[in-house]
Subunit: 249 residues, 2 copies
DNA sequence: AAACTCTACCCGCAAAATCATGCAACAGAA
DNA sequence: TTCTGTTGCATGATTTTGCGGGTAGAGTTT
């Protein structure tokens, strides 16, 4: 295995898990501990990670004081992301919205995946770009500073010209009566266009947001094909959604 | 086996596997290691792949090394950015390319500025978004992992529909004979479209890149309205450009 | 708290692989 | 022919890697 390749893999792992143990790494890559230590030392010198006794930490992990962007309920969102990532197969075209849950999805993509992701969220695009083998397509238009996604007629036009296999939406509110709802007009328009442009709709949300609703309607429950939360499909609160014909992951 | 043929095969393999070992390659193709090294070196110079000790990596793979904290010649780029920022007035529409120099420009914008920035570079858009009062428009299309800007026909179409006041290009090479040149086909097409779509062209470059050229032509020197480097207009090396009718900042 | 153990760390070394360079041979085109 | 571009080889330099020996840290036991 090439040195640079190893270091790239290390960085990918660091970005994914926020920490790594050198012992695990050298087993995994089949090199001596010295080599691994040297790799970590080099990456640390370059400021790409922070070396500690026995392994290394992600830079963002220790800078948590500077970046107040502590994602709410991140552990749950990581679970959701892993489950959702398993739906994506090689060669697929995937439309995704923005939001912290989708951002976790972008981090959880398996390294070998070869798919095309289409997205209007700038932070998410940036995360996709860290992946070694996927293609990224940006939806262009004016950026909404509120939600940090591109919004407007041009964006919707671009989405309309797409026919994707999957659409992943991070949803802010979903309930049996109102379906999927949100509170930002521009974002709702974009999400509706994305649903129209995809064959299957996958909704991602933490369980806390279930059974709540907001003023603007995105789509009915019947339009949702798959629902992904941190809970198991057997959990009682998922029962009504299963009965509504939705696949629960 | 022909040289071109070999290199085409190498590129194909790189795109397929994201990495190759030089030893494997020269066995497979029946050439000496020197020849293989030279091939890889050439492809690396063309930016088609990244050569590392023992083989080569796909550009996307090694790109995991995201956002290098060490920008080459950053101090000079900050000087350039300050000078360039003074050209932008309230209400203007500004097209910008990507690159680290433009990124510095995005950081150097005065806080009160009210203008609209149109851009296809993801890191730069992110930087623009930190500004309190400017509007940001993203040019959408497939993301080139090489340059981290959106490239392609769709992007060029979107640019064509714009008529901006200013166009800021970070240029990689400029000289008296060849004008502005670069080495990435997709990027060149985007930059040409941007120049067409703007009333004034401002080129930003560190002095080190002046009086050099690359294979692909972007525009003639006569098309450049303003040239910004870290040097003063009175510096002797700027003299030829002044004589060519370019305003030097 | 002191002693002990275990792991991880640092340092220098040497072997192997890989690289850069200059040079000569060779083939094809003008 | 003459020129240009390509290839292989020899040489010495550089990089990478694993190993041994000594040291430092962290946790545990006494």
């Amino acid at each position: 295995m090439l040195k640079r390749e190893r270091q790239a893999i290390i960085l990918h792992k660091i970005n994914l898990h926020n920490k790594i143990l050198s012992t695990e790494l050298c087993k995994e890559m089949g090199v001596s501990e010295d080599t691994m230590r040297r790799d970590l030392q080099e990456l640390s010198d370059q400021g790409k990670l922070i070396k500690v006794h026995g392994g290394a930490l992600s830079h963002s992990f220790s800078q948590v004081n500077f970046m107040p962007s502590t994602v709410y309920s991140q552990a749950n969102k990581a679970i959701i992301a892993r489950k959702a990532a398993s739906l994506i197969k090689d060669g697929m075209f995937v439309l995704t919205s923005g939001g912290t849950t989708i951002l976790e999805l972008a981090r959880a993509l398996p390294p070998g995946l070869k798919a095309t992701f289409i997205c209007g969220s700038i932070p998410t695009v940036l995360e996709y770009m860290k992946h070694p083998s996927i293609d990224v397509v940006v939806i262009g238009d004016k950026v909404s500073k509120n939600s940090r996604i591109t919004v407007g007629a041009e964006a919707i036009n671009q989405i309309r010209r797409i026919k994707a296999d999957l659409c992943f939406l991070g949803v802010n509110a979903i309930d049996l009566q109102h379906g999927v709802t949100d509170n930002d007009w521009d974002v709702v328009m974009i999400k509706r266009a994305m649903i129209e442009a995809s064959q299957k709709l996958v909704c991602l949300t933490i369980a806390e947001k279930m059974n709540s609703f907001q003023p603007l309607h995105i789509c009915d429950l019947a339009d949702v094909d798959i629902l992904v939360t941190e809970l198991d499909a057997s959990h009682p609160s998922m029962q009504p959604y299963l009965e509504a014909g939705i696949q629960v992951l």
